[in-house]
Structures are given as structure tokens and as C-alpha cells.
Symmetry: C2
Subunit: 248 residues, 2 copies
DNA sequence: TGAAGTTTGTGCGGTAACGTACAAGAGCGA
DNA sequence: TCGCTCTTGTACGTTACCGCACAAACTTCA
């Protein structure tokens, strides 16, 4: 249970490795459970381990000195938390926090570097992931400046749906407001509109995605644009994209 | 004139190389002149060459489908335009455009990869630069969402000052408005306030920084926070930072 | 079943920036 | 020197979101 076998791996970076590469990397992985709200990395602190999520997702957050938080990227089974370590840095510039309960593979930073040095394909994959994550952050910057909250909320829920794989998300509007960098009451209004349109349903910390297509239509282009980059990373066709299931 | 000698190099990434490494890299460099407004990379196009600025600076821009532009990062002599190529991608996700006349060293992407593979210190330096650039983008995302335009304008002017090294910047308010993702008239109001405070002076496409310290005080924390990361990249002490000169 | 804590709805004055329009000033070329 | 173009100032109604406050609804647990 503590050590992975590749057929059971859901993290797509690890799953994309050739069997020989995976065999070399597997002993460095330890399965850990992530709790809702658990801090993964703290801004300015050292990165001891990186995390390859299996289920659930992790938010990367920029933190300003007045305590303001803003999500800059979501990390799920398609990625890894701790891109700074991949690039050779010892400290995390962003805060990383688990937004759902979940399971992840933990790897010590020193092992990550060793593996990246010895497995060229692994290194290339990690760097390409860094690039797509970078694109996600850049798109988020433009999105925050230009798109309305309703669209951004829809976009965020789509990202959370993709990464969690479930239609019922344990999320308060308060938490979402922090992620999107707006007032909680502003989220409340935008969420009410989505609910009125029959796209989502929610009560008391539980959001249900009822109409995935409707949610995609309500979101800005930023969702599809970033999702396309992730598909490209894993060599998927632009069409025939596998979609997470939708509630009745 | 077409080939560099290291003592004359102003680009700090190239200047930081050991003499032997530089000797290996130098034959790959060609000096080019950049014109104001010249596109360096186009979003979605291939990256044929990367550019190490010597003088002047380049903006990286996110572009949305409605034509909206927003600057996500500034690149001057401390960096290189074309981070995607460093990470192994063939296409640029962002638009890069020269904002001032200037000179840069051009290097073919294939040569960049060859050099990075053969010169480990060069590769490490490039990846660490990518990380700091990433920090800059993330900080900009939070800044756009949270700080007022007056502060953001001051921050942007400081970045332009640092990278150009001159106090007289040939920049219209129209261009600055695009960079900051706001109306031109909004920039006009914010710029007038800075001028009234005696911090800058401007007329018809020429902005002069009169009071550098005043500008730093008018800017949000984001300037200092990112500038500190760049100092760290080049191993400078947090204090004793070299400042560009200020107009009388 | 009652109390306490959490989550959400709603209202309201305030404000930064939008969107647009027009006028005035500055520089450039004929 | 006269116009044309580029750049900047300014105005004004509109809007999205802030900042805050309070009530209502739901959940949990004693």
C-alpha cells in the first residue's frame, strides 16, 4: 500500500513514465493522505518534498503582506506541487494548500533531483509540466484583470471538477472567495445566479455540479484554453476529450 | 561587433557564466537591434530564437481572444525572452514585444538546447531565471487583482527604469494602459497624480523619472518583492542594491 | 431538543475603473 | 507656417465589486 505499482497510478505525470523509469522512481514515493485545509508548502520556506496528487487537488496561492491571498494555480492528478524545486530552487515562493481531502505521492526534493538527473524523459516531462503550469498562472493573471466574477467562478468550478473527478465538492463560498480574491458576498451572488440557471446546486458547504455543459458555457475562454494545454501535455487529441461525469 | 566578448556583455545571465562556458556559448550569439514595437514572439507560433537583451526591455503579454492584452512580465538585461524554449516547448504561449529600442543577443532555440545540455551551470542558471520569472508573473496576478492603478503604474515604471537604465522613457500612456490592462484615460489620471507629486514628468510620449525614491514609495510591495528575487538570483546582498541613476 | 457555530442571503453606501466622447496641446511634415 | 496626426486632459453616466453589517438557514453536538 505504501509503494506504488504503475498500473494503479492515477497521477498522470507518474503514469506517463516508461516502465523502467517508473521502476527507478517508485522507491522514492511514499503515499500520504492530505487533509482539507492542510498546508503543503509555505511561502519562503524550504521545499522538503514535492507532492504528486492522486485524488483531490492542491491550490497554489500568492500571498501579499497584508494577508491577501489569491489562487494562481490548481494542481491535481495532472501535475505536481512544488515546481520551484523542479527548477532548482530551495524555497517555495507560493503557498500551497490542499482544498479537498485526498491522496498524494510524496517525494523528497533531493530524490526528485536525483531522478530528474538520471531519467531524461522524467526530467523533460516535469519541465513541460512546469511550462503548462506557467501558462495557467499567466492566463489566470489576465483572467483576474479582465473577466467577470461569474465567468471566473464557473472556470474555477470546472477546474475543481476536472481535478477531483467528482461532482460534489465540499467547498464553502468563503473558501472560493479567497481563491478568487473577492468578497464572500460577491461569490454568494454569482453562485446564486449559477444555481438559478440550474447549472449548480449547493447547500452549506457542498456544491454539486448539475450541468457540466452549462458550466462550460458560463465560463470564460480561460478554462478551455488552459485545459487544452494540459491535453497537449499528455498528447491527447484536441477533440475526444474525456470528461468527468456529471450529476443527474 | 557581431560576436561578443564577455567583459563587454551587459546581459547578466551571459555575464554570470564562467569564461570557459561563455566561450562555448559565444559563437551561438548574434547581436540584433530591436525596434520599438517590434514583435519578438507571437502567441502560438514557434520559437525560433531566444533573446538576451543588452539594452532596452521586452514585454511578455497574455492575449485573450477578444484582443485584450495584459503584460505578465518584463524582461531586460537580467533575463531572456523565450522561457518556453528553455522548458522544452516549441511554441510560445505568450506574446513578446519590444517596448523600447534596444540591442539583444539572439540565439537559435536548437543552440540554446545544445548549450544547456553541455553546460550544466548555464542550464541551472536558465532554470533559476525561469523560476524568478514565474514569481514575477504570479506576483503580477495578485497585484492586478488587489492593488490600485496608481501603485501598479509606479511599480511598472520602476521595472522599466531598472531594465532600461535611463530616466527618460519613450512611452505613451496608451502603451502603458495596454500593459496594465486598463483604459488609457485611467492611466492619464494616475500619471497626473504622480506628476503633481513631483515624482515623474512627462510630455508627449516621453516620461522622465524625477524622484526615484518617491516612485518606490508610491509603488506597491510587488516591486520590491520581485526585485529582491532578481537580486537573489544573481547572488546580491539584500542591501547595497545598485540603483539606476535618477534625473535631477 | 435546544444551543452554538457555520454557512449563506441580502442590503446599502462608497469607489475604482469602465466605456465613450470630445477638446486641447505637441510635434511633424509639406 | 499651416495643417495633420499623435498624445493627453477631462467629463460623465454606468457598473462591478468593495466593505461592512445583520439576518436567516442549516448542521452539529451536547
Amino acid at each position: 500500500m505504501a509503494k506504488p505499482t504503475q498500473p494503479n497510478i492515477r497521477n498522470r505525470l507518474l503514469a506517463a513514465l516508461a516502465p523502467a523509469e517508473f521502476a527507478a522512481v517508485a522507491p522514492m514515493l511514499t503515499q500520504v493522505t492530505l487533509q482539507l485545509g492542510q498546508p503543503i508548502h509555505r511561502a519562503g520556506d524550504g521545499i522538503e518534498d514535492v507532492f504528486f496528487p492522486e485524488t483531490g487537488f492542491i491550490s497554489a496561492l500568492a500571498v501579499l503582506s497584508d494577508g491577501y491571498h489569491l489562487e494562481i494555480g490548481l494542481i491535481g492528478a495532472e501535475g505536481v506541487a512544488g515546481v520551484s524545486a523542479i527548477l532548482g530552487s530551495d524555497t517555495s515562493y507560493s503557498e500551497a494548500m490542499c482544498q479537498t481531502g485526498g491522496v498524494a505521492w510524496k517525494m523528497a526534493t533531493a530524490n526528485l533531483r536525483k531522478a530528474a538527473a538520471e531519467q531524461p524523459h522524467f526530467r523533460e516531462l516535469l519541465l513541460k509540466y512546469v511550462e503548462v503550469f506557467h501558462i495557467q498562472v499567466a492566463q489566470t493573471a489576465a483572467c483576474n484583470a479582465h473577466h467577470e466574477l461569474g465567468q471566473r467562478l464557473a472556470r474555477w468550478l470546472l477546474g475543481a471538477h476536472d481535478r477531483s473527478g467528482v461532482v460534489e465538492l465540499s467547498l464553502t463560498q468563503d473558501l472560493i472567495a479567497i481563491m478568487l480574491g473577492v468578497r464572500r458576498s460577491t461569490v454568494s451572488v454569482a453562485a446564486a445566479q449559477l444555481q438559478k440557471a440550474g447549472i449548480i446546486r449547493y447547500q452549506h458547504g457542498l456544491i454539486t455540479i448539475v450541468d457540466r455543459i452549462g458550466l462550460e458555457n458560463a465560463a470564460c475562454e480561460c478554462y478551455e484554453s488552459v485545459a487544452g494545454e494540459y491535453r497537449r501535455l499528455f498528447g491527447e487529441h484536441p477533440k475526444d476529450l474525456p470528461k468527468a461525469p456529471t450529476a443527474a
